[in-house]
């Protein structure tokens, strides 16, 4: 079920109504659990079985892990959890990719291997809930946390509908404790939650889908080479589209949870104001980057085993982070490029260590813009459907490719050159602020007017109900 659908409006009203009834807390939790399964089943009912499988395996594995003292057995149990979770993920998400590459390899060595077509539907949000449940077993294995004592609480942690299909990827210690005691939003929380939902849906429906997506689609869908301006405008449009799409989802999810009385962590902090790439990853998809840091980068050795090993760990983490996004070499290249950026930045920072204090305001703006431009180059790999398209675009953006055609209508150009600078200025202004502090400081009538404007724009834009980009991951 999409947040930007009429079905969700009805669904959420019913869930909110049930959650407000004077029922025992356990009954309310069961309501939320059933609602979460319905939320997922509304897309494709049979795939609820995958959620159940993941829930049952990690529930029993974590309990056994907690009881078991023998290290070999504990390791075996952890492997079982990882094998089931990654097995499901591998089968549904990477099966086709692996088969395709195996076929290419066989052809390269002269073997004519023709597997039957792999027509498996990708369960929506599978990468998100797989990582979330894996974090639970890993935390129990590493003795960072105890297993939940309530199956309903754990099942709700795996399935909680606001963040089930596109995050934020929540840690067990962030969410399970919230199910322990009765929760109901105060009227202020409810209103603020509705405000966040409006903001998130405005980003998604109005900015991402209606104002920026057409320019990005035209440029990335162009069959021929492009002129310099169109290649850049399409890429800039995509940078805004993917931010507003994904941050819009996260903001809506946070708002939905808050309306029910639950707190989800931030997933974005104005990432296009980042100065450097480590700063970018502290602001972009925070729940994934911290997951990768805690469960991959640090266990690999992090920065504790020398400079070369640190660079290798960064690269490995980002390559796998890229692959997490999708079964395609484009995503691997996208992650790899981010890994290279992070390694290069680390090398530069080490070289400059001890050479004076921070940069001047002008330099900070320059470095921020440079970061944004370099991030845009990675978005080309992320969005292009294949490498030839990516090279064609990068060629046009760097001026290497000559000729090319114009594809963007004037109105799409006007949208991009209006919205992208506004977005960058907003990110820069909000760099060290939070939305809460800005709202606290704004005149109340201005908040009400902007909120009404966003709600009006969402309703009269009548989006086509496009799925969120990150649902496919």
């Amino acid at each position: 079920m999409l947040f930007n659908s009429l079905t969700f409006v009805v669904f959420f009203a019913v869930v909110l109504g049930l959650h407000s009834l004077p029922l025992p807390w356990r009954a309310k939790k069961l309501n939320l659990l059933i609602a979460s399964y319905l939320f997922y089943a509304a897309w494709n009912p049979p795939f609820v079985l995958l959620l159940w499988l993941s829930t049952l395996v990690d529930w029993f594995v974590a309990r056994a892990l907690h009881r078991e003292q023998r290290q070999t057995w504990r390791r075996g149990l952890l492997m079982l959890s990882i094998a089931v979770n990654l097995g499901i993920l591998g089968y549904f998400k990477y099966g086709d990719f692996l088969l395709e590459n195996w076929q290419l390899l066989m052809t390269a060595v002269g073997i004519d291997f023709r597997p039957p077509p792999w027509s498996i539907v990708l369960p929506v949000g599978i990468s998100f809930y797989t990582f979330q449940t894996m974090a639970y077993s890993l935390d129990v294995y590493l003795r960072r946390a105890e297993p939940s004592r309530s199956f309903v609480d754990f099942a709700l942690f795996v399935t909680f509908f606001p963040q089930l299909v596109a995050g934020p990827i929540v840690r067990p210690t962030q969410l399970i404790p919230q199910f322990a005691r009765p929760r109901r939003a105060t009227s202020d929380q409810l209103t603020w939650g509705l405000g966040l939902m409006t903001l998130g849906l405005f980003q998604k429906v109005v900015i991402a889908d209606s104002l920026l997506a057409p320019a990005a689609d035209k440029v990335f869908g162009a069959p021929e080479g492009l002129v310099f301006t169109d290649a850049w405008l399409g890429t800039l449009a995509f940078s805004g589209q993917i931010f507003c799409d994904f941050a819009g989802y996260s903001t809506t999810a946070i708002g939905v949870a808050l309306c029910l009385g639950f707190s989800l962590p931030d997933n974005f902090r104005f990432p296009y104001a980042a100065i450097g790439f480590s700063d970018f990853w502290r602001r972009w998809h925070i729940s994934l980057s911290t997951w990768l840091r805690d469960y991959l980068y640090v266990p690999l050795g992090g920065n504790r085993k020398g400079a070369l090993r640190t660079y290798a760990n960064l690269l490995t983490t980002m390559l796998l982070g890229g692959l997490w996004h999708g079964a395609s070499w484009n995503f691997v290249a996208w992650g790899g490029l981010h890994g290279l950026y992070l390694a290069a930045e680390r090398w530069l920072v080490r070289r400059r260590a001890g050479r004076g204090s921070g940069a001047s305001p002008v330099n900070r703006i320059f470095l921020g813009l440079l970061t944004y431009v370099l991030v845009n180059l990675t978005w080309v790999l992320f969005r292009a459907q294949d490498f030839p398209t990516a090279w064609r675009l990068l060629g046009a953006m760097t001026g290497i490719a000559e000729g090319g055609q114009a594809v963007l209508p004037t109105v799409n150009i006007l949208f991009v050159i209006t919205i992208i600078p506004l977005m960058l200025m907003t990110h820069w202004w909000m760099r060290d602020r939070s939305l809460e502090t800005v709202v606290r400081g704004a005149p109340w009538w201005l908040t009400a007017t902007l909120w009404a404007g966003m709600l009006f724009a969402i309703i009269v834009t009548q989006g086509a109900g496009d799925a969120f980009i990150y649902f496919q991951f």
Binding site: T7, T191, W192, T410, V411, E436, W444, T447, T449, F456
Partner: protein
Amino acid sequence: MATGKESFHARSVPAVPWGRILTLMLCLAVLALATWEYRMRQIGLQADDIGDGRGHWSVERRKLADSGPDAIAIVGASRILFDTNLELFEEKTGMRPVQLALPGTNARPFLEDLAQNRDFSGLVIVGITEVSFFREGLGLYRDALEYYRTESPSQRFGHLVHRFLSRFLAFIDDNYGLITLLERLPVQERSGVSGPYDQVWKLSIAEDDRQTYLWERIETDAFLRDHARHAWDDFRGDPVSREVIDSVIESTRRDIARIRERGGEVVFVRPPSSGPVLTNERLRAPRSRVWDRLLAETGAIGIHFEDDPRMTGLDLPEWSHLTGHDARIFTEAYVDVMIQRVDWIQQRLREH
């Protein structure tokens, strides 16, 4: 008891007068929406226009699946969709066709779908717009069948809610969304680029059963009429190639044979067009190369508007679709011809 120690931070809520904010916000939003609705009604949008799209099409496709083997289905592009009056059709034959034609879309995959459906042995009326039927691409709603086959419970429910709201609110119309209107502002276009201004705007209104009419404002508003005429310029192009004609006729012949094997029938109907649109169609797909060959090589019955005086001289404000009034005349005429010439219909009429 929770997992480990509690590490979550309760989200802070800004300390502002939320009651006042919510009240003012709701007042402003309702006022703005009421003004917008009023303006849209002034423009000519109607609350009973429930729109069209993949969701509506899927409802009709399911009707066909539920209506038994002897159903009548209409496939084609926008002309047979706008130009057929379903109520009149039912009055004359006692059978209400299921309207499966889709604007800007090639009818072939839908004919093929019916041919491959072993449960279907009814009558298929194929609306022919030559430059749409005889092309390699599938057009605007190429994914309608895929949508129908994979439509999720959420999409089906959302469609019902959308339909319900559309009956009361005129502003719910894909063609009059806020950003769509902004996109259609007349701005200087870049050389060689076609923008949203040049594309097809709102042409029709749709009621239950996908009963679709040409929007009255196309008849009465010279600007909108001229714009619609201008949009058809995009359909200019080279004559349809011999290879495409050969392959389309061959695949159509196979589909017709399959339907006939099960006792069904296929009839081609060519609705009217006029002015430069008709001239362009005659250049790109001359009747002798396309229509006549289609009938000769498939053995199907064809009803061409040029062959019946009742179907000529009708009012086509933008050269491509009949007015709601003349759609009734055209429907009556082509249904009369079918009653005279199509055995499948004659048999059903006798049975009824």
